[in-house]
């Protein structure tokens, strides 16, 4: 199939200031043949934002860049980008979520990111778009090894510190979920219609309000931010779509 301009939008959250050059710039240059819509969120309080924005705009003049406070980590950044995507009336078929995941507490943090970034390898992009085109029920495509399921059917609860917050959010957004799988790391392709449909009813910025501020973990207690990491994928299931792995 033919891949047209602006067929997909890439929404990127950047926390670390050197990530643009270190992680993204070259990978995105490799995707220029597809002319994706680029939307990038930077950390509000970074002193070198102006220089970084100039560099990004020099490389990709059509890129949209915003800066938001460090709230909800990459999830908060992605919600702010969805707000921008909707308010600027973008019309892509698919949205790709990425961020400069470092997982500094893990020796294999960088390895995880490399694995997750396989979804934007130029030779995978066409295959992914083909898969969306041929399987109408595919809502999300992510890296197979990162598709997880924490739901314990017998106990009817999530085997995660986020159990209570997940239940709270599912009830709040009236989600009907039959498949609790999600892409850990929140980097995946998703049909934009799924995002448009949910966030036309629930403002992305209102969803962002409840997220935690600063740097934190869900290792000890659950967080709304880590719960949203799962909810993102369940939006597809709620609308009748499935997750596929590559």
């Amino acid at each position: 199939m033919c891949i047209g301009d602006n067929m997909f939008a890439i929404l990127i959250h950047i926390y670390y200031h050197n990530s643009w050059e270190k992680i993204f710039a070259e990978k995105l240059r490799g995707l220029q043949q597809y002319s994706p819509i680029l939307m990038i969120n930077l950390c509000f309080t970074h002193p070198q934002n102006d220089q970084l924005i100039s560099t990004i705009k020099k490389d990709f003049p059509e890129a949209f860049v915003i800066r938001t406070p460090n709230k909800g980590r990459d999830i908060g950044g992605k919600l702010a980008l969805i707000d921008l995507y909707i308010k600027t009336k973008q019309k892509a078929d698919y949205i790709v979520f990425l961020h400069d995941k470092a997982s500094s507490y893990l020796a294999i943090g960088e390895q995880w990111r490399t694995e997750l970034f396989r979804i934007i390898e130029p030779n995978k992009v066409k295959a992914i778009i083909d898969q969306f085109a041929t399987a109408a029920n595919t809502g999300i495509i992510g890296v197979n090894d990162f598709i997880r399921d924490e739901f314990n059917k017998k106990a009817n609860k999530f085997e995660s510190p986020n159990n209570e917050k997940l239940s709270e959010l599912i009830a709040k957004y009236h989600l009907r979920i039959t498949d609790y799988r999600f892409v850990a790391g929140t980097m995946f392709w998703i049909r934009s219609s799924i995002i448009q449909k949910f966030f036309s009813k629930h403002s992305p910025l209102a969803c962002r309000e409840i997220l935690e501020e600063g740097n934190f973990t869900d290792r000890y207690t659950g967080t709304f931010t880590h719960s949203w990491e799962r909810i993102f994928c369940w939006l597809a299931n709620d609308q009748g779509y499935a997750i596929k792995g590559i």
Binding site: I66, R67, P69, Y105, E213
Partner: protein, 280 residues
């Protein structure tokens, strides 16, 4: 900058055509239906300064729309939105505006987004020197820079933390000859030179304080990650003990023989610590 000049405009499409930083006039009771043009325009001018001037009277709480508030917050996220010490600057045209439900709601919603905004009440008279806020929207082309700068100096020396000086100009005021002449002579005035130095020093202090805050956050994160790594190491050691160390010695020795037989360890390494241990 100590003195900032803003050109007031009501039209989204006009913003790009002006050379001066732009203050977009928004009325409290008139929510812009369409915001995409504004956001798309602001994205084309990341290096220019932009701000919002809110005007209007009382809006009943029930009429305050969160969509309007969120549209304004979305502009604070734009790279060109003017920040003072990392706080978006919002001009309020009217002394009672700050106490309106709309502004309270906006400030509250900003906090929920992790943002602290700096609201500056715009004065319409040059002699109004009672507060530490220095934003002016003057009816005539005459601007008494001398009085404004001297008052700013007084406020600074009294440690009242004065805001930067903002002059919001209408289209007709943007470049009258008398303003340009006065501005050119301003740089020679002693009071201005001193005020400017104080302002630059203040900016440096704020920048260092900010970097210190960022350093504290980074250290806190590093401590958290270190704690997590230590816990992980303890878990790994515990796993090793229960899975391997707990086995009898003869069983472990037999295991090493199996490693040699399956090619995972060299035969010589069974007898010498100096021999190469692993084949791969």
């Amino acid at each position: 900058m100590l003195i900032n000049k803003w050109l007031i405009t009501e039209s989204f499409s006009e913003i790009r055509h002006h050379q001066l930083p732009v203050a977009l006039l928004l009325a409290l009771d008139k929510e812009p239906v369409e915001i995409s043009e504004l956001y798309n325009t602001l994205q084309k001018m990341p290096q220019r300064s932009f701000s919002i001037l809110l005007s209007g009277g009382y809006v009943p709480p029930e009429k305050i729309s969160d969509t309007y508030v969120e549209k304004i917050i979305g502009t604070f996220f734009q790279p060109c939105y003017y920040l003072d010490n990392y706080h978006p600057v919002l001009f309020l045209d009217g002394s009672s505006l700050a106490s309106t439900s709309f502004c309270s709601r906006l400030i509250e919603k900003c906090k929920m987004q992790g943002l602290q905004i700096l609201t500056l009440e715009v004065k319409n008279r040059q002699g109004d020197f009672e507060t530490n806020q220095f934003a002016y929207k003057l009816p005539s082309g005459y601007i008494n820079y001398d009085a404004i700068v001297k008052n700013w100096l007084c406020q600074y020396l009294e440690k009242k933390n004065p805001s930067e000086i903002h002059l919001l100009l209408s289209e007709t005021q943007r470049a009258p000859t008398d303003i340009i002449n006065v501005e050119q002579s301003l740089a020679e005035q002693e009071s201005y030179k001193i005020a400017n130095l104080f302002h630059e020093k203040q900016k440096l202090i704020e920048e260092y304080e900010h970097e210190l805050d960022l350093g504290k956050i980074a250290e806190k994160s590093a401590q958290l990650y270190l704690t997590m790594q230590k816990e992980q190491t303890l878990t790994n050691v515990d796993w090793y003990y229960r899975e391997y160390e707990i086995l009898p010695g003869w069983y472990k020795k037999f295991g090493h023989l199996i490693k040699v037989l399956t090619g995972k360890r060299t035969f010589r390494s069974l007898f010498s610590n100096n021999a190469k241990k692993y084949k791969h």
